[in-house]
Amino acid sequence: MNNNFVKHTIALIVLFLCVFIAYDEWYVGTGIITHGDWYTVEEDWLHEAVSMPSIWSSAADLGGPVLLLSFYPIQWAMGVLSMMGFGFGVIERVLFLWPITILPIIGMYVLSYRILRSIPAACVASLVYFFNTYFMLGRTGHLTLMTANAFVPLIFYLYLKLGEKQSYYISAMLGILLSLVSFYEIRVLYMLVPLVGLLTLFTYRGGKWLSISFVSHAMKMGFPILCAIIVNLFWIVALSKVSAIGGGEFFQRILFGNHFMSLERAVTLFHPFWSGGKLATFKVQELPFYFWFVPILAFFGLYAGRSKKIVLYFGIVGIIGIILAKQVDVPFPELYEWLYLHFPGFIAFREASKFYGLIALSYAILIGSTVQWLWKSSHKILAGVTTLAISALFLFNAMPLLNGDFYELQTVRYRPVEYEAFNKQLSALPNFSRTLWVPFWSRWSYYTEIHPRANILNLIGGPWQDIWKENGNNKQISIEQIFSQEYLDRLLDLSSIQYVVVPIRDTDNDDDFFVNYGKRERFVQDIRSLDYLTEISPRNARLSVFENSNFRPHVYATYEKDTLKHDAQQIPIEVDRQSPTKYIIAFEKAPTPVHVYLTDAYSPDWEVTIHQSRGGKYTSKKTDAQLNEFTLDPQDGFVKHPDGTISFTATLAYRPQFYLQQTIVLSIALGVLCAVLVKYLMNKRRNDK
């Protein structure tokens, strides 16, 4: 057997042992793992995910445009696995937890070995990339981002291969991997594009820059990115047609976390919240002294490997990463904000921690280069001891996992029985209704497109804040204040809220947010005092559920305007819900004008088209409850009934969905074209040989 093969196998076994020991819970058992921003979802939600993508979703709060539509293929895959009978515990492992732990190790190992040709260097590079503070903290909650980052070393490895030779197979593989990265986290693809552009310059060996050979090289390197963009075209076009995305708030956000990030922390690859022990989110930590060895080791590797163009490339990647990850610190303190405000797409990087990924990638190769130099230039024993010391510097970061400080995403969680029962009850309801969680929804809360969940904090910070301001108030409304408003009764009705729930103080599952928002009993008392809500759970229950019986249907019609002050009489209509963005409404003997309501958050992109009337198109108007209203007054071509009423049908639809459907077809067609082109070129090359 090849001696090198044995060595590589042993090296990879040792690396994986380190990973498995640190993340044992992700490999043993299939229980649900959930914490922080990593939420679990119900089976109904997963089944719903196996459908055509929709650019509007009613599932959260009062609904809104889906900004992360790029995630749709992953949702779809989750849904398919669920339909095959797998639970969320298995699904999250297959699609997130296992790729996060396996891919970076293999990817960085092959990448660094290709560059440095040294097994100890490849091992250390893998450890640096896997056990640095940024990825360690990322794996406690931001799993989609971490999964996307897991593909990055493998992508660079394939790009280096592609840079050396023309291979349609590698091109196709890269196209698939880049698309996967974009599905998990589009921002990682965004970061990769300029890096690949720079790599194109570094891997070019044709001589003259202004030549056909360079253009051909650039096209070869750019083709996989083009494929990934084509695959993502479906949501890019559709989202560009959405007016004022998210009510415009998305584009009005200011930079976040300026005081968290600093040049020292970026240079030392030290995440500002890394305490070395328990999670300390949003608490900036002191930079331990030993972290200063990290840049020394990395830049020594740059010096030692300066004869290799690709090592210099990773040096530049590291410096770019540092300049961006320090956010508004010197040098160029205004650069980040300028990019955030003006550079297309950069608005998605509200804070700079994502750029730590670039530093980690660069330092992994550079520190590997230091280790390679050690093994080449010094005594084997000295090199071995130093390599172990460097590895220990990063392996030490795994301590919180081993001593149980990072138990949050290392513990299997169990859904409390109360949620189990309430979720079943919601699942059995045939008609649309919302559940309002006070003050915040539990991670076990049930939600689908038919039974959305809303939390009062999001509502008073968003649409309900506008109602408060329209009543002449300038300050932010509090939860206590909203409960004392007379219009709350009507607001709950008009927003289709059937249940108001105060969740369990679930300390076993780290699902106790009352520590941040105030005493649970106080919320229960406040809601009990509202006579229009009926408490349906036992008085001392851990989960308090209140019912609002007068809630409006999702789509309904009235004779007069239905407002916060006026309870208008409903007209019987038949609503056929075809998708979250399309409803067919049949009016039988309706008066004119007739007022139609959609109890989702207001968007001017909702419109009603009357089938029997030419040009009978009505755009949504904002109600005083910040929802959608259409005043239909069809006249032309209608024969009135003797009582003056008319019968007609209409379509209520979200306009950008039309573009989504069109571009899906375009995306698929272009994707197939790319695949056929690659296959044709592969065959042609084989025949030429």
């Binding site: 030549s211 040049l263 020292e264 010096y303 690709i310 300028w338």
Partner: protein, 166 residues
Amino acid sequence: MINKLNKGHMLYLGLGVATLLFIALWAYGALALVLEISIALVLTFFIAFIIFSFSPHLTTLRIKQLILVALCVVSLSLFHGSKASQGFSEAIDGDSLLGVVWIIVAMAFSVRGSLLMKVGLGIFIFLPVLIFLEVDELIVKRLIIHALFLLFAGIMNSLKSEPDNV
């Protein structure tokens, strides 16, 4: 066809790209920064033109480079600190400006990349000592900036010396 491009074509191409870049930066609100650097450079070349016209004995390339770089540094620094600069973008702080100077000097005089990297690395090795001695945080920060610029200049000059490919 691209190979047949002559210097005239290149000049027009360069001007075209520069104009587009100028318009793009103007559109994105970074014109002030571009103006600041452009004015400093125009000033440099104007003074250099006068010096070289009236002093024909300054002929060697090294001397010309030295004068150009010195003027560039002085005018950039003066303009950055002058009243005329007020209201313009303050995107470049003093240390970054000096860092840019490192790069200009290193590129103009083709300082060996390895030497620049050694100095940059030397600063990083020296940093833990300063931190251990509890030296002012600001000094540490400024040293990091200079080390990073030196490393960057070192990479650029190492690339110029055409290292081996992987």
